[in-house]
Symmetry: C2
Subunit: 251 residues, 2 copies
């Protein structure tokens, strides 16, 4: 049945580039479209941060790799615009060169390619004179906040609710956001969990704040149903807090 | 290769309920996990609004339906709390009864079950004394805003950006949100496109506002790259506007 569905799905077209979200890491959270594009591509670009031993995205699709050329591109984690742009410019040139030779190129990326993803840089570099827009595609993937919410079986939004996604880097911006949405999702919690908990305590929100680390990444997953108890120390980059601030009723 | 991946995926467990997101409507935007759960369930609950001839979710998974019992539940579109709750209570009782008989039940829902989805009501009714929490599950799906963004190849967020999702029902709330995020996603645009365009014109955002109707639903899809030209009149419920308000740079 699945194979039948699969055969209807688009295959990667020669000379085209696809930024493909592979979801959070669990191989079965790929979409059928993503799997089919990866299988049928000639070249797979897999980003790996300079702090990681392995590309998470490549690990998620290991079973789909056969004859494809795999280009692992190592990108900087520090906030250095020039180095970041130079890195992605180099990858973009490799992609454009393969596409010009008639190959189909897929960049795999954890989560969704348009939500806090390195795909944004590669797409920007490609569209900056290297490839025409109609040959550049994005294919959505399940984002980390969606699997975190699913784990807690807690609706993110109903009816009139507002949902805000942001990185947890600026505490003032987080405090301001708490006043203006019904559900707040904080990415990149990393070392800031205790500062966040202090803020939530002031607002009476500790019991409505949930923590998910490496959700559905297969290894090292952990979850906290609320932040009222003892908190872990330093968390990794792949940690998310979801706060249910309130609910807006039908007017 | 896909079948192999698929065989690793979880199958629906007897006595358990799963709220499964099937994505926007295109069958190949299901995840492998969703497909496997649907195939292996004993009962499929498919919501259909009283204004529709057909359940969109059921149409998206038509090829996965074999021997499963299909319960189409018709839900009210009007804002009537009592009628809505009564409707979902009835469905929840049907689900709990099947689960008690050892069947696995999947509710299919367009998009993601925790983002503006009817699944929220069914989950709430089930957890209100009908089923224990550990037998109720949510499986994420690609949400409409993700396919709309993918169509425009336009990153929703990078770096420090904030992303806000909300319904387009309250113009004052929309105006306020424009001040407090870098990307604003408006659901349920329906009859309010011209009012939105007037607001965006004031803010100089007409050129950065994109419109997607029934994105990846297979039929009746339409897109506007910006809102500077002539605008369509009444739009359906499944219409989304994405406004790029700005970009927050690395600090």
């Amino acid at each position: 049945m699945l194979m039948e569905l699969n055969s209807q799905a688009a295959i990667a077209q020669p000379g085209h580039f696809y930024a493909v979200g592979v979801g959070p890491g669990a191989p079965d959270l790929l979409t059928l479209r993503a799997a089919r594009l990866i299988e049928s591509a000639g070249v797979i670009v897999a980003p790996r941060s300079e702090r990681s031993d392995e590309s998470l995205a490549l690990a998620a699709i290991r079973d789909l790799i056969g004859e494809q050329e795999v280009i692992e591109n190592i990108y900087p984690m520090e906030r250095d615009r020039e180095r970041t742009e130079q890195c992605w410019r180099t990858v973009a040139e490799q992609v454009a060169e393969r596409c010009a030779r008639g190959l189909a190129v897929v960049q795999v990326t954890i989560g969704d390619p348009l939500i806090y993803s390195t795909s944004a840089y590669l797409i920007e570099a490609l569209l900056d004179g290297l490839m025409p827009r109609e040959r550049v595609h994005a294919v959505p993937g399940i984002s980390a906040f969606q699997v975190a919410a699913a784990r807690f079986i807690d609706p993110l939004t109903i009816q009139e609710d507002r949902l805000m996604l942001m990185p947890a880097t600026d505490m003032e911006a987080v405090a301001s956001a708490l006043d203006r949405c019904e559900t707040l999702v904080l990415y990149k919690v990393g070392p800031r969990l205790k500062a966040l908990a202090a803020l939530f305590r002031e607002r009476g929100l500790l019991g409505q704040a949930r923590l998910a680390c490496r959700a559905e990444q297969g290894e090292g997953e952990s979850y906290l149903q609320d932040l009222t108890g003892d908190l872990p120390g330093e968390l990794g980059y792949m940690s998310i807090v979801i706060v249910r601030v309130g609910r807006k009723e039908w007017r």
